[in-house]
Symmetry: C2
DNA sequence: TGCCATACCTTGAACCACGAGGTATACCTC
DNA sequence: GAGGTATACCTCGTGGTTCAAGGTATGGCA
């Protein structure tokens, strides 16, 4: 049995990936959903109900700016990274690498912390 | 001021580390709390309110077995990994590496998924 | 005309880390 | 012997986050 609750290791990962992808080029929500799937080799699949709230929160925090665009009669909301968002991305990546490094350290049974980054 | 909400990347990490540390040797809750801090170089610090519920859940799932021990008048609950828990650890590590690999792939801007593991 | 893909959004539930609080015993100091 | 600190266990409530499901609307295709 052993119910698997939901210890997926995703937490802040959508935000990190959104910031990273938008750092390369401006995109709209629906595009981001599939860009994450494709770019991760179908390993990471976030639904729209997960992506949109993050976009709205990041925008209200000033980390994203949106611009309405109409292509072929279709209305899209295109997001781009602001300067503030770029700083947030750098901080998030640093935090991510710190966590990953620490977990790997435990998994490999290291006894003493090493100052060197990967 | 760009509130930092709580996008720590910890989710299932306590469970993973507990399983890993108990795979090496049996430990009790209070010991685990500080073993995680020390073993991760003070990067990961989980409170007791986070560790104990995980221990109880893992035990009720049959992944841990507990044994009461009295040392110097002090009562401790020592946990050890069961066969089921060992399988869970292997699965959790595989999931962890899969996630980390996928995120790194996106961060490095890979376009096509590669079949090879890291 | 009907169907699917595109494109956006909201809502509700479940889950998890975390802080704060609570109990009890041993050890050390005063 | 009185008081504080460290050990050792536990529970509760809160907040943030993922996620499935549902809802709306338009364009292209058969």
């Amino acid at each position: 049995m052993a119910k698997q609750t939901n210890p997926d290791f995703l937490n802040g990962v959508p935000e990190l990936l959104i910031l990273q992808l938008l750092a390369r080029r401006a995109m709209y929500g629906y595009e981001l959903v599939r860009a994450i799937e494709e770019s991760s080799g179908q390993v990471l699949e976030f639904g729209e109900g997960c992506i949109y709230p993050v976009l709205h929160r990041l925008e209200s925090d000033g980390d994203l700016a949106s611009r309405r665009e109409t292509v072929g009669g279709r209305s899209r909301v295109v997001y781009r990274l602001t300067a503030s968002g770029r700083k947030r991305l750098v901080a998030r990546i640093a935090a991510w690498r710190s966590i990953v490094g620490a977990v790997e350290q435990v998994l490999q049974g290291a006894k003493h912390g090493k100052p060197a980054v990967s």
